[in-house]
């Protein structure tokens, strides 16, 4: 098998199962009554946490590829991104259905009045166009440049996700700040690559003159 075949036939299905496993485990825990006394909160927490984790992994793939030269990493980025979207959909549904039980009045009030929900909801909304334009056909239709520009929204989405987490905790900010630190490193590495690439490109231009 060629590398492309290995990836398509073996590693992608494996990665898919791996990405799915936290949700399967959550469902199993619910079924076996292994969750806490407040299972709905557990589902909210778990799906929210995994949204952030998938976002971080998605954002880590590009810098990791540049660091290692493993170009195949990029072929998993759509999958991890879509799993972040899958997770946030479950998170939002849990909130609307299990938590608020479709009390739209309460939900709208929450979105307006509670900054952590406003930010979280905004991030969720921004993820929708990214998920919709994730197919090959949409990418082609949009053209690489526009597609790339649109998908830079992910930086704001991840930032919004971390702020959402930070603003909802009562006193213990350790976990949201950890995600914040990881995000800072990931975004910082992009800037670093951006500047070093520009510097490298600048040199031949200077000698040509």
């Amino acid at each position: 098998m060629t590398q492309a075949q290995w990836i398509r036939n073996i590693f992608k299905p494996l990665a898919f199962l791996l990405c799915l496993s936290p949700f399967l485990l959550l469902a199993l825990d619910w079924y076996l009554e292994q969750l806490s006394a407040n299972p709905i909160d557990d589902v909210t927490d778990t799906t929210g946490t995994w949204t952030l984790r998938f976002l971080m992994v998605t954002l880590a793939l590009t810098p990791l590829r540049k660091l290692t030269g493993w170009n195949w990493l990029i072929r998993f980025r759509r999958m991890t991104g879509l799993f972040a979207f899958f997770s946030v959909c479950l998170h939002f549904l849990t909130y609307v259905y299990l938590d608020q039980f479709f009390l739209w009045e309460e939900i709208l009030a929450d979105i307006q009045k509670r900054p952590f929900i406003t930010v979280g909801f905004a991030s969720f909304l921004m993820m929708i166009p990214l998920a919709l334009t994730s197919t090959d056909r949409m990418t082609k239709w949009m053209g690489g440049k526009r597609w790339k520009r649109l998908h830079r929204l992910v930086y704001f989405i991840a930032l919004g996700g971390v702020v959402h987490y930070l603003w909802l905790v009562k006193a213990d900010t350790q976990r949201p700040l950890t995600y914040g630190a990881i995000l800072l490193i990931l975004l910082g590495s992009r800037l670093w690559f951006f500047w070093s690439e520009r510097a490298r490109r600048a040199i031949p231009v200077a000698t040509a003159k």
Binding site: L98, D110, K170
Partner: protein, 318 residues
């Protein structure tokens, strides 16, 4: 005219009131016993936290101090806790409080009292008569439980220690011992945990000192060996593992109030009309239930405690 009398029911066949009122508990107990039998063989000796509820315990009849709502299971009460001294996750207290040493336990009563003293807890407890109190517990996070506490009114103690005329508040302090309470190793809150009540609140017969639940010794994760419970206030007002009771003239600076003064007021009475700045307090999820229910003013104890706050703006004094 002949009035026919119904058949006499022999007194031996009448269900004693305590058993009648304990019928739900009985069913739960039966379920617990079955579960215990099923797992005991594989799980080995049950830990203190997983022990089934006290089989000899009977639920007290409904009354002003006892709700007749369905009890939250012993398992849920002892595995889902906010007790940051043992960690900030809900199951941390259950996991980390197992080795907590609750004896010997020194308790001091100080400040504006005629009889300040230091006690060994068991000596301190001797004069007081324990009673079951089935209370609603409403957490500020939006969930609630029905818990059968075992304790006695705070007022009983206050009368005994004779506060001076300057005593207007009581301040309660939790043990500070990071070796035993791993949560205190991080500055999540301003340790030690301090809570307070106005004197008339503390004297209210609903406000109690607690040493047990489900009729037996308080599990460590629930604030052993000695805590208060104030059922019309959010749960965090009910200070746990108390080592110091101080009578003071001025309103004590309480831990959550220090952490976020705009979110947690000194009074923190359960109030569906005053939202937490970050979430609504209109509804709550009763542990074990699916749909949320409406939160009641003063957690349903309004008839008994509302008069403590006459003339006060509860939006300002939240």
């Amino acid at each position: 005219m002949l009035i026919k009398r119904g058949p006499e029911i022999p007194s031996s066949e009448v269900t004693p009131e305590s058993v009648y009122h304990g019928r739900r508990t009985f069913l739960k107990k039966a379920a617990f016993a079955t579960a215990g039998l099923a797992t005991a063989g594989v799980a080995g000796p049950l830990t203190s936290s997983a022990r089934p509820q006290n089989p000899g315990w009977n639920r007290p009849p409904a009354g002003p101090y006892n709700t007749d709502e369905d009890l939250t299971s012993f398992k849920d009460i002892t595995t889902y806790n906010n007790f940051y001294e043992f960690g900030t996750d809900k199951d941390d207290p259950y996991k980390n409080a197992g080795d907590f040493k609750t004896r010997p336990w020194r308790l001091t009563i100080e400040g504006e009292v005629r009889k300040p003293a230091a006690y060994e807890l068991d000596d301190f407890l001797k004069p007081y008569k324990l009673e079951d109190r089935v209370y609603r517990l409403r957490c500020v996070e939006g969930w609630s439980m029905i818990i059968p506490w075992l304790g006695f009114p705070i007022g009983d103690v206050v009368r005994k220690v004779e506060p001076t005329s300057r005593a207007r508040y009581i301040e309660f302090t939790t043990l500070h011992d990071p070796r035993q309470m791993p949560g205190q190793k991080r500055p999540v809150l301003n340790w030690p945990y301090v809570e307070g009540l106005r004197m008339d609140e503390a004297m209210h017969p609903l406000a109690i000192f607690v040493v047990g639940l489900y009729g037996k010794e308080l599990p460590n994760q629930n604030g052993a060996p000695f805590r208060i419970v104030v059922p019309w206030k959010y749960g965090f007002k009910s200070c746990k593992s108390i080592v110091k009771i101080r009578f003071v003239e001025n309103e004590p600076r309480t831990t959550w109030n220090i952490a976020a003064p705009n979110e947690y007021g000194f009074y923190s009475n359960v109030n569906p009309d005053v939202d937490h700045p970050r979430w609504s307090q209109k509804f709550e999820r009763r542990i074990g239930e699916f749909r949320k229910r409406r939160t009641m003013m003063f957690n349903g104890y309004g008839d008994q405690v509302a008069s403590l706050y006459t003339g006060m703006d509860l939006r300002k004094h939240f």
